[in-house]
């Protein structure tokens, strides 16, 4: 961790641009005061009810995600590079999905292996040949970024299905403004609060062709027991959209309606936070209690827009990830602005051998995993863990990919001992409708344990407010 790029302080100890006022603030504010504010934040989050459910945790049905009061800062020029890179990447992902469910040029050209797509569990054959409204498949993409140097940003992972965490981006900013108003007087921090408006505009721009003047928007949630429920209700509230569960909707004549106190009301656009598999017991998993029978027919009939589109998961598959730079070249004729992390596919025997021989140096992930579960962080693992993991890889090589352990950048974080560097990553939210919109900010996740590289909230990570400030 000593070698990791410290975002605030360079190796000589000088404070980097952008962090100057934050640094001054930290040195002139007592630890006692910071601790007090940290506690206030926790109390407020709990009172407001910004909690989430941790699956499998005993005695814990609700926790708050730890919030760290030291912001992470991007300069405007850094942000502009990110913006261009993210826009490019999401354009390519959407083009890929249009192609996969259309003419499949990229497969025919042999750029992406056919079986990787067509045999992919997220590939939805029923979507083949269907033209989605506006040609947009991934309306909301969470592109996870890491950094190991001043100029080196890497895309760690794409999330093209139901990326979550944006409510934390918004609430963290609110919290910082409440706790430290003085900081916002001295720093020109770009606001992020308009995200829900941007999201609404994005969704409305891809309303189905036959809908009324003012399309109705709903957010489909699995319900209050879902770990991200707070976010579903928060966004619905801010957007003025209805928060619905499967049981509130029904389909008649291939149109989708909600059950209201005044009778049925048609819904035109659904931002779905339910997995594709559970969306429609008539089309997908028949045992699903979360979906709406007939929803898929209504979708195919062009009477409702679903965001993100069904079948978009093919683009955020960890094995397909390797080909995203090729997609950028293929569809846009450009060189990628943001690079992938070098990745080895265990499906390839040579690469698999390399991975098995270097388990202690690599981070190995399940292709179909999420939330940081089921992965091996080589350098911090025990011999026993590596042996066990090696056996899993050998049993099913194509289910794993590996990447070098990046020394993720660090950011000063307020921990028990005071201010200390901790590893961070970054998830900006890219909105894609008729045009691409990106709000200047995102979710910075921080690994609170010293030396840990695991930032996931479900495994003890925390979050920070993220600032984009004028140079």
């Amino acid at each position: 961790m000593i070698d990791a790029f410290n975002e605030m302080v360079d190796p000589q100890g000088a404070v980097r641009d952008g962090y100057r006022t934050v640094s001054d603030w930290l040195t002139t504010t007592s630890a006692e005061h910071l601790r007090q504010k940290q506690q206030e934040a926790e109390f407020l989050y709990r009172r407001i009810g910004i909690t989430f459910a941790v699956y499998g945790a005993e005695g814990g049905s609700e926790r708050i995600i730890p919030f760290d009061i030291v912001p992470r800062v991007f300069s405007r020029s850094e942000w502009q590079v990110l913006e261009r890179g993210l826009t490019q990447r999401v354009k390519a992902l959407n083009a890929f999905l249009n192609d996969v469910y259309g003419p499949q040029e990229i497969l025919k050209a042999g750029v992406v292996p056919e079986d990787l797509v067509l045999l992919n569990s997220s590939y939805c054959p029923q979507m083949q040949g269907f033209k989605v409204p506006g040609g947009v498949y991934t309306h909301i993409a969470g592109i996870d970024l890491v950094r190991d140097g001043p100029e080196n940003f890497y895309v760690l992972e794409d999330n093209a299905r139901t990326p979550s965490g944006v409510s934390y981006m918004l609430e963290n900013r609110e919290m910082m403004m409440r706790l430290f108003p003085e900081l916002f007087a001295t720093n020109k921090v770009s606001p992020v609060d308009h995200y829900p408006e941007e999201l609404l505009a994005t969704l409305i721009s891809v309303a189905p062709p036959n809908c009324a003047d003012r399309p109705t928007v709903a957010i489909l949630t699995p319900g209050s027991f879902n770990s991200a429920y707070f976010e579903h209700s928060y966004l619905a509230d801010r957007m003025g959209a209805d928060l619905v569960e499967g049981q509130d909707l029904f389909v008649l004549d291939n149109k989708v309606y909600t059950r209201t106190t005044r009778g049925p009301r048609q819904i035109d656009i659904i931002y779905k936070r339910v997995d594709d598999d559970f969306l429609d017991p008539l089309a997908f998993r028949p045992d699903s209690m979360l979906g709406v029978p007939g929803l898929f027919s209504a979708y195919r009939a062009g009477n409702v827009t679903l965001a993100n589109a069904i079948g978009a998961g093919v683009a955020d598959d960890k094995a397909v990830y390797i080909y995203v730079p090729d997609m950028i070249r293929f569809y846009l004729g450009e060189e990628p602005i943001l690079n992938n992390v070098p990745t080895w596919k265990c499906a390839n025997p040579d690469e698999c051998a390399h991975v098995l021989a270097h388990l202690d140096e690599l981070v190995v992930k399940e292709v179909h995993g999420s939330g940081g579960y089921g992965m091996l962080v080589g350098p911090t693992s025990s011999r026993k863990q590596r042996e066990a993991y090696g056996r899993r890889i050998k049993a099913d090589p194509k289910a794993f990919i590996a990447q070098p352990t990046l020394a993720l950048s660090t950011c000063p974080t307020f921990v028990k001992k005071g201010i200390a560097p901790r590893h961070i990553d970054f998830r900006p939210y890219v909105l894609c409708g008729r045009e691409i919109r990106i709000v200047p900010g995102g979710l910075t996740r921080v690994a609170l344990k010293e030396g840990s590289l695991v930032v996931n909230s479900s495994q003890g990570g925390g979050t920070k407010d993220t600032w984009v400030i004028d140079d």
Partner: protein, 314 residues
Amino acid sequence: MLLSRTADNLFWMSRYIERAESIARLIQVARRMAMTAAIGLGTRNEWESVIIIAGCSEAFYEQHETANARTVTDFLVFDLDNSVSLMAYLGRARNNARSARTFFTSDMWEALNSTWIQARERIAERSTRNDPVEFLEWVKERTMLLRGATIDTMLRDDAFIFCQLGTYISRATNTSRLLDVKYHVLLPEQESVGGAVDYYQWMAVLRSVSAHRSYHFVYKDDLNPAKIAEFLILRPEMPRSLVTCLREVDGYLGQLGEMYGQRHECQRLSGELFSELRYGQIDRIFAEGLHEYLTRFVKRTALLSDEISRSYLS
């Protein structure tokens, strides 16, 4: 746009809050009465009647042999596994509110959420279990806070109406049950209060609806069971009387009818029920038989609730 499920959640949330408060009141009064009994003014088991009024005799006697202060308080207040305990009602109310979150102002949500969080902390303390007096008083404060937040900050639209409907339907039913059990238990045949025992019993009834002083404001006489019954059923000044509750219910259903441009059986039923109460006379109620009258009232209120569900909540 108000989802039927959301309206249902709001309706029942209000009912659960009202029931929680009702339990707090019942237990407070029973404790008071038990103290009176201790000084030799009665041997009647106060705690048994609490169980009867709360309508959960069967469930109670499955778990406990006798009804006393400890068993009844544990069962009706603290037991989270018992779906009709005060704590369970608070939990269910909060769950419902969570599902209907977007209709809550921050004042309302924080009032309810903090109540739930603090209630759980408090009941974990031994001192609360051993002496629940302060806890029950606190619960009443919190339910009043939530109602105040609702009335003062919630948007006065259909969501608000469903909250109010839940409160008043529950309140009417609770008042009715209280009166029915007490009257039935106390005075099977006689009509007049005789002696100190009955006086304290009737005071207990009035206290549980916060009416022990207001009774005397309205009636300059001594306690008289017929007048008490009249007070709790027919007097419009009494905020918890059946007539007041039905006036609110009928008024809100009328507003809903106007808002939606449609009236249903529930509007007719509430109008009918309210009119009967508005023009009712206590002599005629006694002629029918108070118990019969109240039983009939509870049934019709339940029917009204079903009709509301049918037309709006499903």
